[in-house]
């Protein structure tokens, strides 16, 4: 029996699946860029433009049963006609789209798409960095960071965290924007004086990166609300302004094992460190007992240079990136001190105190062995 020269059959997706299972050789005549986005497993990529040059090498036997497809069936129809014309005898063209194929239960292989095309464009300058890449960007997009305070430290930290694609930024602040804040709290603007800082921050961050979800917690951190506030976040950025809050936050973070990136500033001087519960020291390892409030003069009393919280907040954001990405060395166990007047950076080591009331050997919150 001789085959007819017009050996091209048109089949729908369900029949094509049957033929593929029966051993038909699948030729995908789309372009490589389309192939990369997903293809039928076991198919051979042979773009229509290369067909004439390469078919005898790819399919040497003219009687090989062939199943051709492209995206919707047009290019593969031309390919089928060409192949029939040069002597191939058993050619099937998938009539319909690859979506039909997949809907009918056809096998499909697609690379895991970590980022949408828009995300790939937006974050391309940082995904180029080997330690970040698309997987790291995915981690940033999935991360949840809580900023205690939408003020001097929180402003630069929030801006850069949002810009880089941190998925959720929570802001804890019960204050409103005051004219005297604007010298350093760059989240806020002159036309938003009197507005809650959290909503002012949300406007700025939404304009910068609509993809970042901003959660407003318009309250002041306290022993009563601290666990509820921090429970759903991965990393806490501490920009608090008083010892009460700092100790309340420390103890809750140790209990719930949340890393806290600590920053404090005074006039020309700043300090930054990272507390990772039960891996490095906590705030109580440094200062076991809460100092009296008169040792904590506020900006309103002491004054502060605008760039100081800028520098400290950016160093805090840098710590957040490393914690989220799981790369590099954080400041855990080191206190970084900088003096803007002399532009000097120094650091001292901080140790985990075995007698620490929060994370020491007698801690009720220590991990169970």
């Amino acid at each position: 029996m001789t085959s007819t020269p017009t050996a091209v059959r048109l089949v729908g997706a369900a029949d094509a699946i049957g033929l593929a299972n029966a051993g038909y050789r699948i030729l995908d005549v789309r372009e490589p860029v389309e192939w990369k986005e997903g293809h039928i497993p076991g198919a051979t990529l042979l773009p229509l433009a290369d067909l004439a040059d390469r078919i005898s090498e790819v399919v040497p036997e003219l009687d090989t049963p062939l199943l051709l497809h492209c995206a919707v069936g047009a290019r593969s129809a031309r390919a089928a006609a060409y192949l029939a014309g040069i002597g191939y005898t058993d050619i099937v063209n998938l009539h319909g789209s690859l979506a039909d194929w997949r809907a009918a239960g056809g096998a499909w292989e697609a690379p895991e798409q970590l980022l949408t095309p828009a995300q790939q464009r937006r974050y391309s300058r940082q995904t180029l960095i080997p330690e970040i890449g698309q997987a790291g960007q995915r981690k940033l997009l999935d991360s949840r960071v809580l900023l205690i305070g939408a003020g001097g430290l929180g402003s630069p930290a929030a801006l850069y965290l949002a810009a880089s694609g941190v998925g959720t930024i929570g802001l804890v602040d019960d204050d409103v924007v005051d004219e005297s804040n604007l010298q350093r709290q760059v989240l806020h603007t002159a036309d938003r004086i009197g507005q809650p800082k959290t909503s002012s921050a949300r406007i700025t961050l939404a304009a910068l990166n609509p993809e970042t979800k901003v959660v407003e917690h318009r309250e002041r951190l306290s022993a009563e609300n601290v666990e509820r506030l921090i429970a759903d976040y991965d990393v806490i950025v501490d920009g608090t302004d008083n010892f009460d809050t700092r100790y309340v936050l420390n103890d809750a973070a140790v209990r719930l094992r949340k890393p806290v990136v600590h920053g404090s500033i005074y006039r020309w001087d700043g300090q930054v460190t990272t507390f990772v519960p039960f891996e490095g020291p906590c705030y109580r390892c440094m200062y076991p007992i809460q100092p009296p409030d008169e040792l904590a003069p506020a900006c309103a009393v002491a004054g502060v240079l605008g760039v100081l919280p800028g520098i400290a907040g950016m160093l805090q954001a840098n710590e957040v990136f490393k914690l989220v990405l799981g790369v590099g060395e954080t400041l855990a166990g080191r206190l970084l001190m900088f003096d803007a007047m002399s532009t000097e950076f120094n650091e001292v080591r901080i140790w985990r105190d075995p007698a620490c009331p929060a994370c020491g050997e007698g801690s009720p919150w220590a991990p169970q062995r």
């Binding site: 302004d241 920053g263 404090s264 005074y266 200062y287 007992i289 040792l295 904590a296």
Partner: protein, 91 residues
């Protein structure tokens, strides 16, 4: 002489100096020499002859609590850092 870094919150106590020099071969001796020239510092750094629990003292980058406390030896080239708890003040 040993250099002692004065933290910002204590600078007003010493006329604004960022670094002061003092003599001694232990933390105790260096601090006593410092307090002799700047008496107002004593009450901010010590309480009842012991180091205040609100001020950490480092020799270079090491916390003296994890060494020999006030008896920790200090060399001429060492730097002593006084580091009180700093709350921030950010609102």
């Amino acid at each position: 002489m040993t250099a002692i870094r004065i933290p910002p919150v204590l600078r007003e106590t010493v006329g604004g100096s960022r670094v002061l020099n003092a003599s001694g071969s232990t933390v105790q001796e260096v601090l006593d020499d410092l307090f002799a020239s700047h008496p107002a510092l004593r009450d901010r750094v010590t309480e009842g002859g012991e180091l205040s629990s609100f001020v950490n003292v480092y020799v270079n980058d090491r916390d003296v609590r994890y060494r020999d406390g006030l008896a920790t030896p200090v060399g001429e080239d060492d730097t002593v850092i006084l580091l009180p708890a700093m709350a921030g003040g950010l609102r």
